[in-house]
Amino acid sequence: MIKKVTSHLSQNEALLFERSSPGKKAYQLPELDVPAVDAAVALGAENVRQEIEGFPEVSEVEAIRHFTRLSTWNYAIDYGMYPLGSCTMKYNPRINEVVARTEGLAWAHPYQPESLSQGCLEVMARLEAALAEICGMDAVTLQPAAGAHGELTGILLIRALLAKRGNPRKKILIPDSAHGTNPASAAIAGYAVESIKSSETGGVDLSALEQLVTSDVAALMVTNPNTLGVFENNIVRVAEILHKKGAMLYMDGANMNALVGIARPGDFGVDVMHLNLHKTFSTPHGGGGPGAGPVAVKNVLEPFLPTPRLKRAGKKLAFDYKRKHSIGRVKAYYGNFGVLVRALAYIQAHGGPGLRNATMDAVLNAVYIRKGLEPYYDLPYQSPNMHEVVFSDARQAKLGVRTGDIAKRLIDYGFHPYTVSFPMIVHGALMIEPTETEGKLEIDSFIDAMISIAHEIETDPQMVKNAPYNTRTSRVDEVTAARKPVLRWKPA
């Protein structure tokens, strides 16, 4: 039944430090065209180090083989689907990589004169405008380095506005279905966090919201569609309830892949939101980053945006540092420019109609998966889903098999697992987001795999509990890793 993968030899490889030999080199620097300098004299003998003990010494061939062998131990989008919910693991277009390396952009120094940086500034201005249009917002900052960083920035903007009005307030409301970065960001911004329970359809409970929004509440942080993949049908009403009490609506844009070209957060009452360029806008995950987390706001929040702001003066673009209401900087320089270039390339490649089509494909794929798996896995929420769908392991749990086990068995079938045990409002959650990248072939393969596993659980649950079998590494001992952490290599 396992069709997508087969066994294959992969190379073993030790750590760099175990492969090193004294004197081996992989580099060659040009000859110095100036006199050498005695470090002890120039720096003071006490400031000069002995050698860098334990640092690798390998040849170029050993270096390339080392990293190549390591790379073959990874799964990647280039191998196949990642059904991870809310991660939007779509294809990373290679055109992005090419344009980001254009020399005049890649070697631009952030402090070079603005007159010699107009190309960079134009790229940023163009992206700001495109994102504002996509989100239905008035102004955008590109400074935050990732989604969580954008969340922090957004909450700080809210705080600044409310403080200017006389009272920054004390609490942020966060749904119990929210991603962990939401409360963590709110806490760093100096707010207390109050959880709001989801309704039985998984959305924001309006009557609970009415009760909880007091004059102590600065904002509600909402994800739309929520982490169940369900659109917040009452979103306009949610915004009204908040605004009536002088509170604001923050939207976590992690699930924008369901909305681009279809609905705009600015149109349905959102005051401030962040985007994840490494999700919706195809910039590569790279094993855990870099990302970028631009923040889009309504005009009322514009004066507080991080310094500096990009502005046009005739034909020239320049940075405006005279922003007396700004929350300050959240990062040095201007943002993850290299990531911004990639996102703009993606937007240009798709264009308006293309972006909308991508959204439709993303939602179609997820609904198709829902239909395919509904007979086999428990679906806790019946509302229409958008770009992702959440099942639970309720049926399989009766036979002692949990979502984590199913995920590990899925690996044997040649797929990366879906998101396990999140959102927390679903016990034993399986959160699946295919993205628009996947064609019918890959998705049918995935559905077949999940159905096969469901059958395996009925006949041989223990086998599933001990998966995976076909990987280089079997299940790792995370318990010992946490009890007795070994976080670096040391010589014997």
């Binding site: 045990s421 995370e478 318990v479 946490a482 009890r483």
Partner: protein, 127 residues
Amino acid sequence: MYPENFRYTKEHEWILVEGDTGTIGITDHAQEELGDIVYVDVPKVGARVERGKSLGSVESVKAVSDVYSPVGGEVTAVNETLADAPETLNRDPHGAGWLVKVRLSAPAEILELMTAADYRKYVEAEK
């Protein structure tokens, strides 16, 4: 399973009172829910604890659980062995896996806690 001479809380802590000292730990149900314990965070000797307030936490690989003090008082002893062997908590949660000893400031608080029989029923209902 649940010693008769212990008292229990809704958050799955137990306390054994001897004179004016209470030994506090988490119940077997709690350690089972958490799975393999990897780390225990407890207060220092001399710290004050308050009934219903967190006195520390217990961690598994994927979860953290606050430990709430069943009583108010002052910490007189801490189980040092858990630093090197947190698995003791899984193995023997009602014995060698004790967390702290506390000198009770208000012994009457014990009366508000559950008996073993009540706790057994409570755990059954939760399941």
